[in-house]
């Protein structure tokens, strides 16, 4: 029998099954819902068979890990070689407190650092700026200058760890500080490894922590790309982030499509700068959320890898395989955590982590179960890390490559997500690109609509959330101990900053800031000047204020 004959037979048999076996069962046992669909609103069939995957070519669409189109993974042996990096996003209070947390996590088996900065740092305000009142050290660690960064990395050798920094507006300044620490520790540029999120485009419609308007923002992004391409071969200059798009309320498909579109836009900006695609593309990295629907998420990661590889090859004519690699970090989805019965979140995070690992991520952050209530306590973050370690060492999941590859369901979903993401990409292209889409509020509206729809489904009990709209219990008091950031942190931080301002060489600071002002207006790469400015102990607020003066400030486009 030929393959075609076999397939025809399967299709025929499936029709028979639908007409006979299924209806007779349904008479007595109706299905739970009239329609099944995932969060991206793709309908889910009762059963997937070879008929669903008949148009998929194994060699063209699935292939082998480490080879184009990388559906099964970017590395040839995936987790049989090295496990993913266990990288917990963390930071709170002062640099001392976070330094202590970093060392604790490394001792407990974490394999990479990831810094959470507080809002003043993220927005480029000094800790004593009026805008910073009440926010210092609350949502992350307060970094006002290189001085704080020195404390943050005290006793942490930069040639032994890689560090990811969730920083966007002031990404260049924080990277400059990291380089300065490396210089002090005597670590060569070639050895410094890590990531700056440095994805400004999604700030305008998802995370909304932007300082400068879109075009100067992307100028700074591209300065970092260019600087890293020639100086920091192990640095990922951008982590193109879908995570915040998802957390802001998008569905998996929108997350996939908008993230890839942002990626396309950064490639275009670097090409415009005169860089060769194969010079910089290998260091572009990505960051996604892992939400509740296990198979939808797995398919999203696989589709993202394949779509990116195809775009890099066909749209940008990359030649190196590495330029087509989509290396990704995944974080379990914060917005799925519930404040009620918080211990249940451990189970949610476990399932979401499994999706990320079955999806072939390079690095993973697992949320702590207390994060709908506060920043993670030491105990909660340890349990979160243990989830990864249990999957890694006990479950057997990492022992073969892409274990769900070939599943009729997963392959079908992977295809659907890729196709529909491509439709979005064509649509944004036809709008004139990313800036136009932001200006029109296109992404903002898409995300707000999905967020509202999701909430309506929960409110209307169409979507069940355990402990939110089903299986609720009276909890007389919170069953877990919560971390509270001491309000005294703000005063401590401000007095440190005052001390720095007294003790540093004021002339040097002034000269550096003046030079920065002059350079910012020109078309040259700002990174070398920013490194000098940071090394002169200019504060983040001073640097950002100079740049605000030159580039202006972004005013939010409000779309409900």
């Amino acid at each position: 029998m030929t393959d075609q004959e076999e397939l025809d037979k399967v299709i025929k048999e499936q029709e028979r099954w639908e007409e006979t076996t299924v209806p007779s069962w349904l008479k007595r046992h109706p299905e739970r819902k009239k329609k099944f669909h995932n969060i991206s609103e793709l309908p889910i069939r009762r059963l997937y068979t070879p008929a669903d995957t008949k148009n998929i070519s194994y060699l063209r669409d699935i292939g082998f890990s480490g080879e184009f189109p990388f559906t099964r993974g970017v590395h040839a042996t995936m987790y049989r070689g090295r496990l993913w990096t266990m990288r917990q996003f963390s930071g709170f209070g002062t640099a001392e407190q976070t330094n202590k947390r970093f060392k604790y996590l490394l001792k407990e088996g974490e394999t990479g650092l990831s810094i959470a900065f507080d809002y003043p740092t993220i927005m480029g305000y000094d800790s004593d700026d009026p805008m910073s009142i009440g926010e210092v050290g609350r949502c992350g660690v307060a970094i006002a200058s290189l001085k704080d960064f020195e404390t943050l990395f005290d006793g942490i050798p930069l040639d032994k760890v890689t560090t990811s920094m969730t920083i966007n507006g002031p990404a260049a300044m924080l990277l400059a500080m990291y380089i300065a620490i490396g210089d002090k520790q005597g670590v060569p540029y070639a050895v410094l490894g890590g990531t700056t999120q440095n994805d400004l485009l999604k700030e305008f419609f998802a995370q909304k922590l932007c300082i400068f308007p879109p075009r100067p923002s992307v100028k700074l992004v591209t300065d970092i790309v260019e600087f890293c391409t020639s100086n920091l071969p192990r640095w990922n200059p951008i982590s193109v982030s879908g995570y915040h798009i998802r957390e802001a309320g998008s569905n998996a498909l929108q997350e996939l499509a908008f993230t890839i579109y942002d990626g396309i836009s950064y490639v275009e900006a670097a090409l415009e700068r005169g860089l060769e695609v194969d010079e910089f593309a290998p260091r572009l990295s990505f960051f996604f959320a892992s939400h509740n629907d296990l198979f939808e998420e797995i398919a999203k990661f696989r589709a993202a890898r394949r779509l990116w590889a195809r775009l890099m090859k066909d749209r940008f004519h990359a030649r190196k395989a590495r330029s087509m690699w989509m290396r990704m970090h995944v974080q379990t989805s914060g917005c799925t955590l519930t404040a009620n019965q918080p211990l249940n979140n451990i189970i949610r995070v476990t399932i979401q982590s499994l999706a990320a690992i079955l999806g072939g991520t390079q690095s993973l952050h697992t949320n702590s179960h207390d994060e709908a209530l506060c920043l993670p306590s030491e105990k909660a973050v340890r349990i979160a890390l243990r989830i990864q370690q249990i999957i890694a060492h006990e479950s057997g999941v990492p022992n073969t490559i892409d274990p769900v590859g070939g599943s009729y369901y997963v392959e079908t979903l992977t295809n659907q997500l890729e196709e529909k993401a491509m439709d979005y990409i064509d649509k944004i292209d036809s709008m004139g690109g990313v800036y136009e889409a932001i200006e029109r509020g296109f992404f903002q509206k898409e995300i707000a609509d999905s967020a509202y729809k999701y909430q309506k489904e929960i409110d209307g009990n169409e979507r069940t959330l355990v402990s939110v709209n089903k299986y609720c219990i009276e909890e007389p008091e919170c069953p877990i101990e919560l971390l509270r950031v001491d309000p005294a942190v703000e005063e401590q931080q401000i007095s440190r900053l005052e001390k720095l301002r007294r003790e540093r060489n004021k002339t040097k600071v002034k000269q550096a800031l003046n030079k920065l002002h002059d350079e910012a207006d020109k078309n040259s790469n700002l990174m070398p000047t920013i490194i000098e400015t940071v090394k002169a102990y200019a504060t983040l607020g001073e640097i950002c204020s100079v740049l605000r003066g030159v580039y202006g400030e972004y005013k939010e486009l409000i779309v409900i």
Binding site: Y119, P120, I122, M123, Y125, M131, S132, I133, G134, E135, R138, C139, Q207, K208, L209, E247, A248, G249, C335, L337, T338, A339, N340, A372, L373, C374, L375, A448, A451, Y452, Q455, K456, I458, D459, L465, S467, V468, N469, E477, C478, L482, R484, V485, P487, E556, I558, I560
Partner: protein
């Protein structure tokens, strides 16, 4: 005679950029027939109270997830008092620990909604309580 529409300001004080909840609540209140104004992000207490005054709203909804509520909320409530806006119904939502709820209620914030609150609960709360103060 048709009843006057409830006017409500949804506001985001401080540097916090988590606006998913605020926007969803704003839209739900609008769909429930209220006139909703949303401030956008990063409003100072002064800006928020000024908008309450200028827009002559009946209700103020505050959203904050950054942990800075004990700094911003008391300031807002003080300014409200100074401007004689005691009749405006105030509620809040976000990540607000249990132990902060009572002190905030003492300042005049009538209700604090945590994560997982159905939008219906917020709508009912506004409808029920706004009548008393109008």
């Amino acid at each position: 005679m048709t009843e006057k529409k409830i006017r409500i300001l949804v506001a985001k004080p401080g540097l916090d950029s988590h606006d998913r909840g605020a926007k969803v609540v704003a839209r739900a209140l609008r769909d429930a027939g209220m006139e909703v104004i949303y401030t956008g992000l990063r409003q100072t207490p002064e800006q928020i109270v000024e908008t309450v005054l200028q827009e002559d709203v009946d209700v103020l909804g505050l959203s904050i997830l950054s942990g800075a509520h004990m700094t911003h909320f008391p300031k807002i409530m003080n300014l409200m008092k100074q401007k004689d806006l005691k009749d405006v119904l105030v509620f809040a939502g976000g990540i607000i620990p249990e132990e902060d709820i009572e002190p905030l209620q003492k300042l005049g914030i009538r209700e604090i909604f945590g994560p997982g609150t159905p939008t219906e609960t917020v709508i009912d709360f506004v409808k029920k309580n706004v009548q008393k103060s109008r």
